[in-house]
């Protein structure tokens, strides 16, 4: 094993340790926020594999997250009347954590199948087709009400299949005590801490998987497809195999992220996975740096905090130079979109490599001096 790889493994071990110790130092609220960052990281790892590494643009990854999220919600659900598919009624069927791999596989299969028509589409046309998928997906969900809960959605807050600290009220003293969640000897008191550990454990595992996938022959082949399909095919790379596989794996990641998002929000409806989500994922990958791995963390942090924090500070980011043709409504939901859009354009114009590109540039500067 080369030294560089040993260093990488050591750094990864450090990151694992940091991730597991962090909840002791931060508030419950921060833990919840960071859980979402972990979830976005998983989705970004997947999208990056497809768009950054293999060069296949997807503007519709939110649709695969939707498939994952709905798989989890339907399997966990206990609606009245129950959701139904082909005569089977879903009532508390599967416990939340076991729905995660199922959600990944279902979304992965969908992605693999979508990969076949996508084979004939390149560049712009693929972007267009995936964009249309993401826009059309919520309409399909609303149509099949009996199976998906329609526009109302599925509430999984009160179902038995959900893991959470149980609250036990003493019938005599009315004192409520919380029974912590017990996972491999670790006692977790709050749902948010549980969510944090769940999402980050999965994120770290999938991160390592992505790294292993990409470091060898398989990763080289994917990059070859991106750089020149013609050259790749001439060197014996089966384009169809690699592209559909990239779609499948990428959708698997998205499905897992969607599943975790459903568990985190304890509720899904078509608006949980809007077209904006697909776009934000692309923004995240671009901010991190197309084709990079660890800088994607920056992308995940970026898309989460831009959505949550900046939305609440509209006034601060409405510059005075916006032409006022009407009255500015400072509570309007447009601010994050403007900031996202402008930053996205600026990155493409000034630093097309994202955070990864900046780091590379800085490193080049440092080594030149030495």
């Amino acid at each position: 094993m080369r030294r560089a790889e040993l260093t990488r493994i050591a750094l990864f071990a450090l990151a694992v340790a940091a991730v597991f110790l962090l909840p002791f130092a931060i508030s419950d609220f921060r833990a919840q926020q960071l859980s979402y960052v972990g979830i976005y990281l998983i989705a970004l790892l997947g999208l990056n594999l497809l768009t950054g590494i293999t060069g296949q643009i997807s503007l519709g990854h939110g649709a695969f997250m939707l498939i994952g999220g709905y798989t989890t919600a339907i399997l966990m659900s206990n609606q009245d009347p129950p959701l139904e598919l082909l005569g089977h009624q879903f009532t508390n069927d599967v416990r939340d954590i076991w729905t995660i791999p199922i959600a990944g596989l279902v979304a992965g299969l969908a992605g693999f199948l979508f990969g076949f028509p996508a084979l004939r589409l390149t560049g712009l046309y693929l972007a267009l087709a995936t964009f249309a998928v993401a826009v059309a997906a919520p309409a399909v969900v609303k149509k099949y009400q009996g199976f998906t809960g329609g526009g109302v959605g599925i509430n999984i807050f009160e179902v038995e299949t959900r893991t959470r600290p149980k609250e036990v009220t003493d019938p005599v003293t009315f004192e409520t005590t919380r029974e912590p969640i017990n996972i491999v000897g670790l006692e977790i008191d709050t749902f948010n801490d549980w969510l944090y550990y769940l999402s980050w454990t999965i994120a770290l595992v999938l991160f390592a998987v992505a790294w292993l996938l990409l470091r060898g022959r398989f990763g080289r082949s994917l990059r070859a497809v991106r750089d020149s399909e013609l050259a790749a095919a001439s060197s014996g790379i089966n384009l169809a195999t690699y592209k559909t596989l990239a779609f499948g794996i990428s959708a698997f990641y998205a499905g897992v992220a969607g599943s975790l998002l459903a568990i985190a929000t304890t509720f899904v409806n078509p608006d949980t996975f809007p077209i904006a989500l697909s776009i934000f994922l692309l923004v995240g990958v671009v901010v991190g740096g197309l084709g990079s791995l660890w800088p994607l963390v920056f992308g995940a942090v970026f898309i989460h905090f831009m959505q949550i924090e900046w939305a609440q500070r509209t006034e601060a980011i409405v510059p005075d130079f916006i032409p006022v043709l009407g009255d500015i409504d400072t509570d309007a939901p447009g601010a994050p979109a403007v900031a996202f859009g402008v930053i996205l354009i600026l990155i493409m114009l000034i630093a097309p490599g994202g955070v990864a590109g900046l780091v590379r540039r800085l490193r080049a500067l440092a080594t030149r001096r030495g």
Binding site: T314, G326, G334
Partner: protein, 294 residues
Amino acid sequence: MAQFLQQVVSGLATGSIFAALALALVLIHRATGVINFAQGEMAMFTTYVAWALMEHHGWSYWPAFVATLMIAFVLGVGIQRVAIQPVTGTSVLAVVIVTIGLLLTFNGLAALTWGAEPQAFESPFPNATWDIGGVAVGQRDVGTLAVVIALVLLLWAFFQFTKIGLALRASALNPDASRLVGVRVGWMLAIGWGLAAVLGAVAGMLAAPSFLLAPTLMQALLIYAFAAAVLGGIDSPFGAVVGGLLLGVGLNLIETYVDFVGADLKLPVALLIILVVLLVRPAGIFGKPVTRRV
């Protein structure tokens, strides 16, 4: 039969709106090989400008209409110069991402400036109907169709009979040769973007009276326009118009006569059209198949 004809007429009107937006997409794709994902949002934004001119500044419809077209033209030219020109010729992904950035920016700007609540948008045509042989023909529908047809003819004449039109066609066809004979290709591309923005503004102002003006006005319309452009052939202006009209009528008839689809599944049907056309005949009905030299 009367119902069928009525659906065809109103389908033609909706279709002409698709056609205008599809034509904008085709114009840009022909000149630069780019699909502008922000086309719909730019159209929505300029429609808001027209609305603000009428609502807040007391303009009447037609002056506001013309002023908006001019503003849209300047906006289109400016965007091409500032945001698109620098990434042209790098990678498809870079250009797509920039247009997505523009999509977000305009969507957000509209919501920020004018709020997210839907607004009523005035139509220059009366909301009455003519009775033609038992078929109730909406005057607004006829007006919409007439505006789009007039615009297409105007555009065609511009490309065909003016010097700038010739230069525009030349720089789309062969940029290097055009540069050699003294055409300023960069500016021609910018003018192309400006014209596309004008078409989008018209589509937006025609769509707003029936769909209500909101930041989400053009999101579904953009998908329909994509479908129309792909159906007609993404490089064929004539195809875009025919594709738009076909799609408008087709979707209307499907909505009325196919119970399963109804109003809910119109978008997925458009998606299906996009996928099927791209897979079976990527050049569309009127496009020429591209052969690639390796």
